[in-house]
Every structure is written in C-alpha cells, then in structure tokens.
C-alpha cells in the first residue's frame, strides 16, 4: 500500500504539464550524437525563466552544466563543463512562467562511442 501511494505521488509530481512547452532541444530528445556535446540548448514556446538543468549519466551521476541564467528568454544554451563519455544521458529541466507556474520535464540522448579512423 505504501509503495502504491509513493508510486502515485511520484507519477503525479513528475509530470508537471506545460504552460509554455519545451519545443526543441540540442541534442534532440532520443538522439544519438557522435560529436562531443559542448552545450545543452533548450527552446520554449514563449519566454520563461529557466531555473534548473540537471544532466545525469546512466548511473545517475551528475555532470557539470553551467548554471541557468537569471533572465527570461525563449532559448537557453548552457555549457557542458565536463567531457561526456559514450553512454546514455538524461537532462532534467525546470522553468517558470509568468504566473510562477512551474513547468518541468526531461529528455534523453546518447553519446555514441567514437569510431576509429
């Protein structure tokens, strides 16, 4: 029962519906990229304040990403401050709209192993 309750709470809280949706990202969601990932780009349907971006690898370890700027904009580019080894990564993001309604979500991408020349 306790697990069921926790699962329901988790499901509710982890799916904050978008006021101002995320429209595009770089790397794209579910993409497999071969070039080094130097920045994470998030583009929204309107001006928002991006408040958090957390990049984690497949083991759940955090990777350093530049802090979100304290400004309102439609598009944000945050530098990835460490090299990403081949593997799967998840970007969790959170933003705030004009009425301070919080929108959040996540997307995944994969860094492919470099092929020897």
């Amino acid at each position: 029962m306790r697990y069921l309750f926790s699962a329901v709470l988790l499901a509710i809280v982890s799916t904050a519906a978008a006021h101002t949706p995320l429209t595009a990202t770089v790397p794209a969601a579910k993409a497999t990229v071969s070039a080094p990932v130097k920045e994470i780009v998030l583009e929204f349907g309107g001006d928002v304040r991006l408040t958090a971006v957390v990049l984690t690898d497949a083991q759940g370890a955090n990777k350093k990403v530049a802090a979100a700027p304290a400004t309102v904009a439609k598009k944000f580019a945050l530098a990835v401050e460490e090299d990403l080894k081949p593997g799967a990564y998840t970007v969790n993001w959170r933003a705030v709209g004009a009425d301070t309604h919080v929108v959040s979500g996540d997307f995944r991408f994969t860094v492919a192993a470099a092929t020897p020349l």
Partner: protein
C-alpha cells in the same frame, strides 16, 4: 528529480487552502448565526476560526518563503534573490500579500463580537478569498475580468459550506435539540441558495479554461472532472442529511443525530479531498491553451 521540493510546497499549498477555507467559512457561520448560538458555542466557533486563520497565515508565509525552492526544484534555491524577485513581481506577490493581510485581519478581529471586529473580519475574509483571483491562472488569462468574479463567488460559496460543517457537527450534539433544529433549518434555507453557486461559478470558469471536450482528457481536465464528482458526492450527502436526518435532529432523535453528525464529518472530509485536489491540480497542471509565457513588458535579456 525535484520531488522533495514539489511535495513540500504543494502540501503547504493544500494545507493553506484547507485552513483558509475553514477560517473564512467558520467566521461566516458565526457572523450569520451568532444570536442563535449559546454564548459558549459562539465563543468556541470563533476560537476555531481564529486558530484556522493563524494556521493559514503561518502556512501561507512558509509556502511563500519556500516557493523559490519549488521553482528551481531544490531547497538550496530557497533564498535565491533572483527567484524571490521574480516571485514578488509576479501575480503571486500581490496575491500572497493580500492573503497574509486578510488572514491577519481575520485572526485579530475574532477575539470577541463587536461591530468593529465584524467589519475588520469581513474585510479580512474578503481579502483572503480575493487572493485566489489575484494570482495563478486566473490572473494571466485574457478573460481575467470574467474569471476573477466567478472565482470569488466559487471560493466564497465553498467557504460558506465548508466552514459551516464543524459548527453544525458541534451544534447537533449539544444543547437543546430544538435550538440545533432551528439552526439547521436556517442554515439549510440559505445553503440551498448559496451552495449551487459553487457549481455554477465552477462550470462558468471551466467553460473559459477548458474550451473543448478533448481537453477534458488532459490531466487538468481529469482533475476538474474528479472535483465535480466530489462535489456531486458532497451534494448527495447533504441531500440525505437535509431530507432524512436534519428534521429528526430537531426532534431530539439520538440515532438520527448520530447519523447526521457522521454524514457532516464525511462531507467535511470529502471537501478536504477536493481542496487538496485543487491545490495539486493548480500547482502541476494548467489549461491546455493558456499561454504562460512572460509578456512583452518583462525584460527578456538574451542569454547567449
């Protein structure tokens, strides 16, 4: 990710809703029927309203302080000056100020029944209820001038109902049955006019917020349906009490009084569930078509 801050802030919001509705509604009850209550009953009801107002006030302040944590998904951002400034400059700023001032005025005006206190409590209760319309989805909607009054009617009627339940529960179990019967009769006479306003105003707002049937299939729409079903359940319980048990309470029937009080308690619990659902719904979800981006007037500096 971000779960702890979400749970803490949304729980505080839900608690604010319950305490605020209890404070305002219980005050409305005592203001309307003070003369029909025994002095010690009126005093006890006023104390409950004041305690609820104090709880709502404290929780509102804690909720406001922790809001930046939820905005960034981390308690480490609680005192982030830029998020605090954003919060204060948004519609949440004036809404929270109105709520705090209203609840403080209400709490301070509930120590004893005087004309001045009644006026003070009335202004406080109005401010506390109006705070719902000052912030959130209503405040940024292009039809805010339609939604604002509808929301005010919706929350005022809901507070009237919710706040009356505990006093009715208490009144039915003590004192002469004739007095309880008279009180129930008077309350019912007013309630059948006021309580339907909860549904009418709610439907009016839903027509503005949810523009198509397909939007009812979204999480926002589903929670709206859940609230409506909950309201229907409350109405059914109230109908059973009105038709079957309330007249027998006035006649001093102990079994009927027992049943009446249990049903009132069930109504109270169901309304708490509806209020918590509302807090979750308005925190996590938004109407599909509602544009929540910052307007042109906001400084949108390039980030790169």
């Amino acid at each position: 990710m971000f779960l702890a801050a979400d749970l803490a802030v949304i729980s505080l919001r839900a608690l604010t809703f319950v305490a605020l509705f209890m404070a305002v509604g219980t005050w409305i009850f005592v203001a309307l029927w003070e003369r029909d209550l025994a002095p010690e009953q009126a005093e006890r009801i006023r104390n409950v309203a004041r305690a609820a107002a104090v709880v709502a006030l404290i929780v509102t302040v804690i909720h406001y302080v922790l809001s930046p944590a939820r905005m960034a998904g981390s308690f480490g951002s609680t005192f982030d000056p830029s998020l605090e400034a954003l919060l204060l400059q948004s519609s949440s700023g004036p809404a929270s100020i109105a709520r705090v001032v209203g609840l403080a005025l209400l709490a301070l005006s509930l120590d004893r029944a005087t004309k001045l206190n009644t006026i003070g409590a009335g202004i406080g209760a109005t401010l506390a209820l109006a705070s719902f319309a000052f912030g959130g989805h209503t405040s940024i909607h292009p039809l805010w001038f339609v939604l604002g009054p509808l929301l005010l009617v919706h929350v005022a009627a809901a507070a009237f109902w919710f706040g009356a339940l505990w006093p009715l529960f208490a009144a039915a179990g003590e004192g002469p049955p004739q007095r309880a019967g008279l009180l129930l009769e008077q309350f019912t006479r007013l309630a059948i006019r006021i309580v339907p306003l909860v549904l009418l105003a709610g439907v009016g707002m839903s027509v503005v917020f949810v523009r198509s049937v397909s939007e009812l299939a979204t999480p926002y729409g589903a929670m709206l349906i859940a609230k409506t079903v909950g309201f229907g359940g409350c109405m059914a319980l109230a109908g059973v009490n009105k038709g079957r048990f309330a007249p027998a309470v006035g006649a001093g029937n102990e079994r009927a009084t027992w049943a009446f009080r249990r049903i009132v308690a069930a109504e109270w619990a169901l309304i708490v569930v509806i209020l918590v659902t509302t807090a979750v719904m308005t925190s996590l979800y938004a109407p599909e078509h509602l544009e929540g981006a910052f307007g042109a007037g906001h400084s949108a500096e390039p980030t790169h």
